[in-house]
């Protein structure tokens, strides 16, 4: 096993994959992923469908258990069966393709639920925080509406606010705009752009290439269950090294 080496600038990584493996039955999805995500980084994860992009994210907040290797999130090794998983989940906000808002709760209640029940803050404090976050994602006027009354873009912005309410150290986005109508994609990307500018650590799986090029510090190209190429957006998009990355880019950029 490799030993955690501090980065040149002296920081320790927020998330570290060491030879991480994940199977779904006979399907070997992650085949030895090694990667570090530093605090403040905005990582965009690209790759062909079924390559393990979403699985990587889902492993970080333990929606999937890893089968091999070590996955250290904020100092806790998720490969360890005694790891305090609930704590990690509170620190890693997850935004899903299908929003997954709670339909029986109002928009504000969706945002207030976890801080009250997990962090134990008072109802008034949760309400104040919730309204502030809804304002941040530009949807405070819908605080008392129910999710079904909102458009897809609005729902996704509420989902982002709901995750932010836990003050996560990293935000994970699993294809956040893939289920949206084209005219709603921008409003969600704007919110994400704002988060990135505010210094939030983010890992994003997306097919929005222009967005990836604009906000990412680093692009990870995943293929065959491994990190195939890693570099700045300029390096990756303009001058990909790997043949598979070139092939992927040629398919998505010219269609």
């Amino acid at each position: 096993m490799s030993i955690s080496v501090d980065q040149p600038n002296g920081r320790t990584p927020l998330i570290e994959f060491r030879e991480v493996h994940k199977h779904f039955g006979k399907l070997h999805i992650l085949r030895g992923v090694n990667e570090k995500i530093m605090e403040g980084e905005v990582i965009v994860i690209l790759g062909p469908s079924g390559c393990g992009k979403s699985t990587m994210l889902r492993c970080i907040n333990h929606l999937e258990k890893i089968d091999g290797g070590d996955l250290i999130v904020d100092g806790i090794n998720l490969g360890d069966p005694h790891a305090n998983v609930n704590r990690i989940r509170g620190e890693t906000g997850m935004v899903f393709q299908q929003f997954n808002l709670f339909p029986h709760l109002s928009v504000l209640q969706n945002v207030m639920l976890a801080p009250m029940k997990v962090r134990g803050i008072s109802k008034d404090a949760a309400r104040e925080k919730g309204l502030k976050l809804l304002k941040r994602v530009g949807i405070e006027e819908k605080a008392d509406a129910f999710p079904i009354q909102l458009s897809g873009g609005q729902q996704q912005r509420v989902a982002i606010a709901r995750s932010l309410a836990m003050d996560p150290k990293i935000m994970l986005f699993d294809e956040p705009t893939s289920a949206l109508d084209p005219e709603m994609i921008r409003e969600v990307l704007d919110v994400m752009r704002g988060l990135a500018q505010a210094g939030m650590t983010m890992a994003i799986v997306t097919h929005e290439m222009a967005f990836a090029r604009e906000v990412a510090n680093r692009v990870l190209f995943i293929d065959g269950g491994k990190v195939c190429e890693s570099g700045t957006p300029a390096e990756f998009f303009d001058n990909p090294k790997e043949e598979r990355a070139k092939d992927f880019l040629s398919k998505i950029l010219k269609h």
Binding site: L63, R87, R89, G90, T92, F96, Q98, F102, L113, V118
Partner: protein, 253 residues
Amino acid sequence: MILLAEANAAAPAVSDYFGSAIVEYLPYFLRGMLMTINISFWAAIVSFAIGLVVAVLRVTPSGGLKVVATAFTEFFRNTPLYVQVLVFYFGLPKLGIQLKFSFFGIEVGDSFSAGTLALGLYTGAYVAEAIRSGLLAIPRGQGEAARSLGLSVLQTLRLVVLPQAIRLVLPPLGNLYSAMLKNSALLSSIGVMDLMFQADFVNNRTFKTFEVFTSVVFFYLMLTLPMGWFVHWLEKKYNPLRAKTLRLQGARI
């Protein structure tokens, strides 16, 4: 003729018209209705509690408890309620289980406790299946979103999944509780003095079989119809997927 006249003189001095027995014995019917409501209420509580627990156990991956929960459901769904009532009433005391007890100074009779238990467990098996179908219908993403926010398994169940599942199965639950209220008539056989028991009593006194049992039909309707309306109202109030609901909840559209 003389004998008949004497008999008439002995009978209560009421005019004999169609339905007179019902008017005369109205207090009996009302007492019976109260008992039907009372025992149905407690059986509903028993069945909901047991149904909730059994449904959750049946959808969790843990092996042992799942088998127990499945066995419970299959046993109570696949044997006649009447037999279960008799088994509880005559069987439990033989096993040394005391059916008569005192609850905060209120004496509870053996027929009442056996009846509540039998009706509650029998209905509970069906309630469990209804709730289980609701749990299975909630998208996986709901649980994942709750877990990813840091909620524990129990919090996820209690705050996110169950509230949605129960709303979803309100219509079948309404059916089950209507059936339960009607099934409570069987408990008259072990001496629960419910509406059916009182009807039998009045019938034996008056021999006005047709009047007594047709009126009992209406007395039962007076209980089941409002209950149906109540469930329908709950459906409208708590189903978050209906526009009507949203207006009732005062949401701004």
